[in-house]
């Protein structure tokens, strides 16, 4: 259950003190190469959740409020559910995390992001949608959770 974004962040920060030296060595070794992605951060439990409430509870440990300050850009009709362009943006201050959920998919949570200070709350990606579904965007701002949702009509299912 240690899948919450803030919990894993704490784990990273505390591990960071001890691992700083080895991280430095690793960084020197890969000079031009970027920092490696850490599989241990992955919130596995949240990605296995089958409802929005469960996924958000596992990921953030709290429930969201509806907000009009999140722009969720989805097509009204998606002909091919395997590739649905989705953009989300938010004018909320101090956004620390964002997530996208698709309520009719086998697993509700599609993707989640942790933002460093200075990273803009604006991103675009492509999702698979199994069938006509509500897509939910969730934004964590100043420690509180906000959500907005939009319906996408899927002509040809694409869970795969």
């Amino acid at each position: 259950m240690n899948g919450s974004i803030s919990a894993s962040r704490r784990a990273v920060l505390s591990a960071g003190a001890a691992g700083a030296l080895s991280a430095l060595i690793a960084r020197a070794a890969e000079a031009a190469a970027p920092a490696a992605a850490d599989a241990k951060l992955y919130p596995t439990a949240a990605f296995g959740a089958k409802t929005e409430v469960a996924a958000l509870k596992l990921l953030f440990g709290k429930a969201p409020k509806a907000s009009s300050k999140i722009d969720l850009g989805v097509p009204e009709i998606a002909e091919n559910g395997a590739v649905v362009p989705v953009t989300m943006a938010s004018g909320l201050p101090n956004v620390t995390a964002m997530a996208l959920l698709s309520l009719e998919n086998p697993y509700t949570l599609a993707c989640a992001y942790r933002l460093a200070p200075g990273t803009l709350a604006h991103m675009s990606s492509r999702l698979k949608l199994a069938k006509t579904t509500k897509v939910v965007a969730v934004v964590e701002s100043n420690g509180a959770l906000y959500r907005t949702s939009r319906m996408v009509k899927v002509t040809l299912g694409g869970c795969g």
Partner: protein, 102 residues
């Protein structure tokens, strides 16, 4: 593996936009091929760095499309700075790439 990540990073008005195209099957584990399920194989964690400092960490599930396209933006970043992308998938495979901001 040949370099499977295409990156474009551009800066304008103090904001750097990073767009990337990652080559990956992103198999969800629900699709059948010749009567057998293709086992799940998808990117779990993708890390974006600017001059070695993490700007964004993404957690992806099997609902992200095959050969994912992703773009985001961060404040700061100058021409010639390094933007790095690294991912690890559920089978422990990894790839990383770095590019200069144009």
């Amino acid at each position: 593996m040949a370099n499977p990540i295409l990156v474009r990073a551009q800066t304008a008005h103090g904001v750097t936009t990073v767009a990337c195209l990652v080559k990956h099957p992103m198999d969800s584990g629900f699709v059948k091929k010749a009567g057998k399920l293709i086992p799940p194989h998808y990117i779990e964690v993708i890390e974006f760095t600017h001059n070695g400092k993490t700007v964004l960490t993404g957690f992806w599930g099997p609902a992200v499309s095959r050969n994912p396209f992703f773009s985001f933006a961060f404040k700061g970043g100058k021409k010639g700075d390094t933007v790095g992308i690294a991912w690890v998938d559920n089978k422990g495979e990894r790839a990383a790439v770095s590019a200069k901001i144009a």
